[in-house]
Amino acid sequence: MVADNASHNRASAEAVDAAAGQGQVAQMRRGVLPYCVLAMLRDGERYGFELVQALGAVDGMVTSQGTIYPLLARLRRQGLVGTSWRESNAGPPRRYYHLTAAGRGALAGFSRDWAQLREGVDALLTRSRTGKEGTP
């Protein structure tokens, strides 16, 4: 019984660790998502549904596609994307999103920051791995 409890506690502690790790990854994903949205608009305007479909197709990028619409609204309020309504040949007019100059600047800034961060993290991860391998 005591042993059971101990193993149960350990198991739940591991589960908590795993959940915390996943939470952090989810948080990182949330952090970079706005820039991924901006990046998808770099080559021209897209309408919401198309954008959401494309982002949803990237594996592990978006867990609930519906949250991209509020994100787009926020980017618009921040002046990073602009919108325009276009008639579509089928159905009601569609709202198209495009990058503004500010959005382009933010994307360029993030691209630099991201490259730097990625290099730094990669260097640390690789070093610790080789360190482990170095001690037989």
Binding site: G48, V52, S64, G66, L80
Partner: protein, 205 residues
């Protein structure tokens, strides 16, 4: 359940979840999600349950739409402030209800909660009470008068405070809860604003 009913049920849930959003933002969100569902159905890329599953929980979507309470203290916040001020008149129970609303609310941080609690316990209902048991209550009236002379009363506080100081204290006592209420309204706004900025902000340069 038909696809139409399924879609309608999903949108109803979203509308409910988004109730706290400012009206324009809520309408826009509902329109966009409804549009997404319509386009997904028209494109026929996936069965509707999969489309809705891909969209995610309505509650999660509504939460992503930002601070659910917008820039206003909200109904519960307004009720907390009103009850703190005047709830005491409802058999004092009302003030305690306001106190509970104040402390459970995420709108305020603890210094504001403490302020709301201490200025004044019981709210406006307590002020007459304070006047009775406070220094002002201990005024001794000396009335001189008698036959043929008008009655003249002079009152001095037991603490020996001059009358003007007592009036000043009374004014402060009366104004303090109003000032507290104004401060709570503003700090609730600030917390709502912070909730917005907690979402990832773009870095420039």
């Amino acid at each position: 359940m038909t696809d139409d009913q399924l879609a309608a049920a999903y949108l109803r849930r979203l509308r409910r979840a988004a109730r706290g959003l400012p009206r324009a933002r809520r309408k826009e969100l509902l329109d966009e999600i409804a549009d997404h569902i319509a386009q997904a159905r028209a494109a026929g890329v996936a069965p509707l349950p999969d489309v809705l599953c891909g969209l995610g929980d309505p509650e999660e979507i509504a939460a992503a739409a930002g601070p659910v309470r917008g820039a206003r203290p909200g109904v519960a916040g307004a009720a907390a402030i009103a009850l703190l001020l005047f709830g005491g008149f409802i058999f004092l129970v009302g003030w305690f209800a306001g106190l509970v609303l104040l402390w459970v609310s995420p709108r305020w941080r603890w210094p504001d909660k403490l302020l709301g609690t201490l200025v004044w316990p019981g709210g406006y209902a307590a002020i007459p009470l304070l006047a009775v048991i406070g220094p002002a209550g201990h005024t001794s009236e000396v009335c001189g008068g008698g036959a043929g002379r008008p009655t003249v009363c002079t009152s001095t506080g037991a603490s020996g405070m001059p009358g003007w100081l007592e009036v000043l204290l009374l004014v402060i006592t009366v104004l303090a809860p109003a000032a507290m209420a104004i401060r709570l309204v503003y700090s609730a706004r600030r917390v709502a604003g912070n909730a917005e900025s907690l979402l990832p902000e773009p870095m420039h340069g």
